[in-house]
């Protein structure tokens, strides 16, 4: 029986719930000291003086390091896949400049964490402070260049078509800054062995962390070794290598001991990225029949002063619907804050919110069902790229999702549906995310004893990489999944792309499959060439694998287990790298699609909104493990409830301080906020995307849900709230 497609429980589940799984901060080293960062308490300016005298005399303190005594670091040029194309990363402790509130200004190293914390509080820093620029509206913006040049797209003449459209909507949508706030904080343990550095460090991209830290310290890449087998949630915050990793390594070198550095929750709001605040104008023009004639989508998002972070804020606009006249653009507002970064469905989640709310407004203006409006504007090809989709199941998603939700029972009039005193609203939105694929490697090894070992540098921040890769390997090898041991999270494993952008299954999965097929082929060769094997003399093409054995297809009795073959020959190993099919990628446009339906109940007097249920239908190619995929999708819905109704990092307008930087003050949904969530997958067979036919589900799960909730709130109340999060004060 194939392992792929089965709802296997997580292979690492027992390790996680028993505490056996070790996270970065749990790899305590002998003689380890503890580091605590001192963060800037002004939003812009210069360090005038640092008084470390008291701190240095406190018990257990080994060192205080700031720009005054930090080593000058190489900071060689290096831009990984996930680093902004323009600008330069923050150089930590290299000068006296304060670029944003919370910037690290010093680090204390002490024998114990408590000693380091206490000494950090005793450090007094004088600043020559200036007022930071924090606004993203009413300021000059830069065009967003770099990897998302596609952010600027035009076909036809959207502005002219808009002015002539018989029906139009034109509105501005805003989204607050969000921080990822995974349960596990960032943590790094750094230990030097001569000029070699070992890092146990929370990372979604260990191979990049290796190269980045090597560049920062001017070391050969193979002198840096990064380990991160488990991640307690990340949502993108652990893609880049942030300054604290460098600080841990500086500290470890300075005191000549291993050093452990765990960020506080508050510091998780300072230097580890965030979803940028954004403002988007969307204008839609349509005929009275509902056919779109114009789409204008202009987005602006915050970035830092020292890097230009660009995400896919307006890229969905060109392919989502059929429309002859489309113009989209993306501007950046440089502010005196730290650099934003990718956060689950980066850009798309924000862009889809604006476009899908605008579509709902258009449906209202047309007096048309929102579902019908979308079906009416379904394109036959990607009109932006002018090429066919490798697969596009949006219509099926909408129809199946609507049926499951019971959409046909919706009274279209706002404020028409009630439950007692509560107003009930039903809203929907389209979801979409690109099907990325990047080069990846994997290694597979068959032993005479024990499970087949498969490894790749990859990560598992929660989606179930361990399990899904085990399934892929099991099927490629013809082994039961229990006989496969998949390992990840080490920079000396074959290189993989970032664990983000929903590309792990496609990229690492394809590589795992290739490596397993390669090692299987080696085992076949070994067996058919060996007179001691029952397979001796058979043609390789005639050999199949199942249940841990190779056998001759025409004579199934002629068979031998991998273990026996490997026992005779010694372990058999193969490595493979797998790259995207560039030709297919030129011929086809590759994206996932989905449709999300939500029901909200709004207390009309008190403004309280509760999401009662959500149904998502997704077309994501092949589903490797329905249990994991479903969990990804319902998890995305929970994130979407947060995005729609709770999450916002509030900046003090005077100094840029993230004020609500704690888990008590930065609201995310709790269990009581999460009710019925349902995710289904429509059958989709896409032979073009990659060998496995997978598109990934992690990001699409977050797109669509926030606009579906906002649209439901409108349907319930008749009030259109165009800024997220929607809170009580917006509705009373």
């Amino acid at each position: 029986m194939n392992a792929i497609g089965r709802p296997l429980p997580r292979v690492e589940g027992a390790a996680k719930v028993t505490g056996a799984a070790r996270y970065a901060g749990e790899f305590d080293q002998p003689g380890q000291a503890h580091a605590v960062i001192v963060s800037a308490t002004v939003g812009l300016g210069r360090i005038a003086a640092i008084d470390v005298a008291t701190a240095q005399t406190l018990p257990g303190v080994l060192a205080v390091i700031s720009h005054l005594n930090a080593p000058k670091l190489a900071y060689s040029p290096h831009k990984g896949f996930i680093d902004p194309a323009h600008g330069e990363r923050l150089h930590v402790f290299q000068d006296d400049q304060i670029r944003f509130f919370g910037q690290p200004v010093a680090v204390v190293i002490a024998d114990t964490l408590d000693q380091a914390e206490h000494a950090a509080a005793a450090i007094h820093v004088d600043y020559a402070a200036r007022t930071p620029e924090l606004r993203i509206e009413g300021v000059e913006t830069l065009p967003a260049g770099g990897s998302h040049a596609s952010a600027y797209k035009a076909r036809g003449d959207a502005d002219a078509a808009l002015s002539q459209a018989p029906v139009k909507v034109d509105a501005v949508y805003r989204i607050a800054r969000e921080n990822h706030n995974p349960m596990e904080p960032h943590a790094t343990i750094a230990a030097w062995d001569g000029d070699r550095l070992h890092l146990w460090s929370k990372s979604q991209f260990v191979t990049n962390e290796q190269v980045e830290i090597a560049a920062v310290f001017g070391l050969p890449a193979d002198h840096v070794h990064v380990t991160c087998p488990f991640i307690g949630g990340a949502f993108g915050t652990a893609l880049r290598t942030w300054p604290h990793v460098t600080i841990a390594a500086i500290g470890a070198r300075h005191v000549n001991r291993a050093v452990k550095l765990v960020l506080t929750r508050r510091q998780m709001f300072y230097t580890t990225g965030h979803r940028p605040r954004s403002m988007q104008r969307v204008a839609l023009g349509a005929g009275t029949d509902g056919k779109l004639s114009a789409i204008v989508h202009e987005g602006t998002a915050e970035t830092s002063r020292y890097e230009q972070f660009v995400e896919a804020l307006t890229t969905i606009t060109s392919y989502l619907y059929s429309c002859p006249n489309v113009r989209s653009s993306h501007g950046l507002a440089p502010t005196d804050t730290s650099t934003p970064t990718y956060m689950r469905a980066p850009g798309e989640a924000s862009g889809v919110f604006a476009v899908e709310c605008a579509m709902d407004e258009l449906a209202g203006a047309l007096n048309m069902d929102p579902v019908s409006l979308r079906l009416l504007n379904e394109p036959s090809i990607d009109e932006g790229e002018n090429r066919p989709f490798s697969s596009r199941s949006l219509k099926d998603c909408i129809e199946q999702g609507a049926a499951r939700f019971g959409w046909s029972r919706r009274d279209p009039r706002p404020r028409a549906m009630r439950d007692g005193r509560l107003l009930i609203g039903w809203g929907m939105a389209t979801a979409t995310y690109p099907a990325f694929h990047a080069p990846a490697g994997a290694r597979a090894c068959l032993h005479g004893n024990g499970p087949a070992e498969v490894e790749a540098a990859a990560s598992d921040m929660g989606p179930g990489t361990y399990t899904s890769m085990t399934q892929v390997a099991a099927d490629a090898l013809g082994l039961p999944p229990e006989h496969v041991l998949f390992q990840l999270g080490r920079s000396d494993f074959p290189r993989t792309p970032p664990h983000g952008g929903s590309m792990t299954m496609a990229s690492v999965g394809s590589a795992v499959q290739a490596a397993c097929l390669a090692v299987r082929a080696k085992a076949v060769q070994a067996a058919i060439a060996d007179a001691r094997s029952p397979l001796f003399g058979a043609a390789a093409a005639d050999i199949d694998a199942a249940d841990g054995s190779l056998f001759v297809k025409s004579e199934p009795a002629r068979r031998e287990t991998y273990a026996t073959i490997a026992a005779r020959h010694g372990s058999i190993e193969a490595e493979a790298t797998c790259s995207p099919d560039e030709d297919a990628r030129k011929r086809f446009s590759m994206h996932s699609f989905g449709a999300v339906f939500t029901e909200v109940a709004v207390d009309p007097d008190l403004g309280i909104v509760r999401v009662r249920r959500a149904v998502g239908a997704y077309g994501c190619g092949r589903v490797i493990n329905p249990r994991l995929a479903r969990s990804q999708c319902t998890g995305g819905m929970v994130g979407g409830i947060g995005m729609a109704l709770m999450e916002q990092t509030l900046l003090d307008p005077r100094d840029g301080r993230p004020v609500n930087a704690s888990m008590a003050d930065y609201l995310v949904p709790v269990n009581l906020d999460v009710n019925e969530l349902d995710a289904i997958f429509v059958e989709e067979d896409d032979p073009h995307v990659n060998a496995l036919g997978v598109k990934g589900v992690g990001e699409i799960a977050l797109t669509g849900i926030a606009p579906a909730i906002a649209n439901a709130v409108y349907h319930a109340t008749g009030k259109r709230v165009r800024a997220l999060p929607i809170r009580i004060e917006d509705l009373i």
Partner: protein
């Protein structure tokens, strides 16, 4: 954390003597330890009072007595409390999380410190933490702050849910100190910030809350606590109301009302209470008295919505209380 000494007191006398000598009581630690970790609180000496015999919850002829060390979870689950003062059960279960309620004591709950984020970090101006340093909240992010009882020196809300209901119910707090036992209404435990926001309560050094007395009243069964907030649980109130009504033949005989989330101390709504007496128990009445609740309100840049929300919450809670029992 600033280094400190720790002493577990065997009895009240020892505890009080230790506190008079400069020690600080610790019960569940859910307020104190958080703040010590941030060095917002720096007690030199902790007096652990958990061994003191103050855990009991018992009924008397005229009311309920709740020991200061009874845990929020224990009180919420106690049959006598459910029977005699269902308002307290509802209130406690709306507060914090199950884990916190298992640790948090009633005495600690009453003396918990404000949730103003500028108070809870050393690097912001805060008159409550460092007298004279200013109030960062007034010109900053103050969405959750108070509209009532504020001063130019502090606008933080009192965070306790329980205190709101105890004030509404006319509960009494019993204190033991170097001078012996004294008692006064829970309401009198709290000060307005004025120009001394660092002084929050009226206890003298070394005074220990030993128990809370909650008198029975004919309104106890028509009592509801409604807490409005942006998520369904585990969040402090934007606005909350405790309302207890005595209604006879459709007419309000007695009303006991207090508000949380809007004021610098649990806010007794005395004017509303008085205006309700003798009025028919009806929506029209609830609406008529609601504006009295916001008399003197001073909105800040980010919390003006609370003026409307307080009135609406009051109307709803009165309605729920009117339907209760």
């Amino acid at each position: 954390m600033t280094p400190f000494a720790y002493h577990a007191s065997p009895d009240e006398q020892d505890a009080i003597a230790s506190a008079v000598a400069g020690g600080r009581y610790i019960a569940g630690g859910t307020t104190l330890i958080d703040l010590m970790r941030e060095e917002v609180e720096e007690p030199k000496r902790l007096i652990d009072i958990n061994q003191l015999p103050l855990h009991d919850i018992r009924e008397t002829a005229d009311g309920l007595v709740i020991g200061a060390l009874a845990r929020m979870a224990e009180v919420a689950a106690h049959p006598a409390v459910a029977r005699m003062q269902p308002l307290l059960v509802e209130t406690l279960l709306e507060g914090a999380s199950p884990q916190l309620r298992n640790m948090a004591s009633i005495g600690g709950n009453l003396l918990q410190r404000v949730r103003c984020p500028y108070f809870r970090t050393l690097d912001a101006a805060c008159n409550k933490r460092r007298p004279g340093s200013g109030c960062a909240a007034i010109g900053g992010i103050n969405h959750n702050h108070a509209i009532l009882g504020t001063s130019d020196h502090c606008v933080a809300t009192h965070p306790s849910d329980l205190a709101v209901s105890l004030v509404a119910l006319g509960a009494v707090v019993r204190i033991r100190g170097p001078q012996g036992l004294r008692e006064f209404p829970v309401e009198a435990l709290y000060r307005l910030p004025g120009d001394t926001p660092h002084l929050e309560h009226t206890l003298s050094p070394g005074e220990l809350i030993v128990e809370v007395f909650v008198p029975y009243g004919p309104y106890a069964q028509r009592a509801r606590y409604l807490k409005v907030r942006d998520r369904a649980s585990y969040e402090f109130a934007l606005v909350s109301i405790a309302a207890a009504l005595e209604i006879d033949a459709g007419v309000v005989r007695q009303a006991r009302l207090a508000a949380g989330g809007v004021a610098t101390r649990p806010w007794r709504l005395a004017a509303c209470e008085a205006a309700l007496v003798g009025q028919p128990a009806s929506q029209a009445t609830w609406r008529k008295v609601a504006p009295l609740s916001v008399a003197g309100a001073r909105p800040l840049s980010g919390n003006g919505f609370k003026i409307e929300l307080l009135q609406r919450t009051l109307v709803r809670t009165l309605e729920l209380a009117g339907e209760a029992a």
